[in-house]
């Protein structure tokens, strides 16, 4: 892995971390509950993308499975929260 790719991966991970910090600000600030659910869902997506980048960095297949898991859990979690806000219960 050349210096170009190593530095590019380092840059990518730092920019994703910065994006996560900005999303965290929205999570704390969001005037309504649905803003916070949106921020949480976006954090899950950013975490999944970081997993894939780490998979390239360590050249391993395990990170791909972890990324799939994060995507699934993020979807289920955000869906449950949104359903709860809409109806007051998750499974009717």
């Amino acid at each position: 892995m050349s210096a170009l790719l190593t530095n590019a991966i380092l840059f990518t991970l730092s920019v994703f971390t910065l994006a996560m910090v900005l999303t965290l600000i929205r999570l704390f600030k969001g005037p309504s509950a649905q803003d916070r659910v949106l921020a949480l869902d976006y954090l899950y997506i950013l975490a999944m993308l970081m997993m894939l980048v780490l998979g390239i960095r360590y050249a391993s297949d395990t990170y791909f499975e972890a990324a799939l898991l994060i995507a699934l859990f993020g979807f289920v979690g955000s869906f449950a929260l949104a359903k709860f806000l809409l109806r007051g219960e998750v499974i009717e």
Binding site: L4, L38, F79
Partner: protein, 121 residues
């Protein structure tokens, strides 16, 4: 499979460019989420990262692992497909939740679209 293996230069350049591009899309999405003034406007920027951001990372992963193992390694495109199926469902439900809660609070959003309920407005 060894990360010390030397890969052709164009593979590394392509992977590096795609990764940097995807991180920039993620950052623009987060900026939009933070800066927009209305909940419904805030729903659109995160879709940037989950479409083009995920496409770029998946493409980088395909290019890199295919060069590493010297054969096509295509499993990374499952991620954009999974995201394309699950993210619209969450976004749609959040949009309906936002509309519902804003209508209950009496905010400035369009009234319900169904004919049976639009009586006496």
């Amino acid at each position: 499979m060894n990360s010390l293996q030397v890969l052709p230069f164009w593979v590394e350049v392509l992977t590096a460019v795609l990764l940097v591009l995807s991180s920039l899309f993620g950052l623009i999405g987060a900026l939009g989420l933070l800066r927009m003034k209305d909940f419904f406007q805030r729903m659109h920027p995160p879709a940037l990262a989950s479409t083009l951001g995920a496409w770029c990372v998946a493409l980088a992963s395909i290019v890199y692992f295919s060069a590493l193992k010297e054969g096509p390694v295509l499993h990374a495109w499952l991620i954009p497909i999974l995201l394309a199926i699950t993210v619209p469902v969450t976004t749609l439900l959040l949009a309906r939740t936002g509309l519902f809660r804003k209508r209950m609070a009496g905010d400035d959003v369009p009234p319900e679209v169904s004919d049976g309920r639009q009586q006496g407005h």
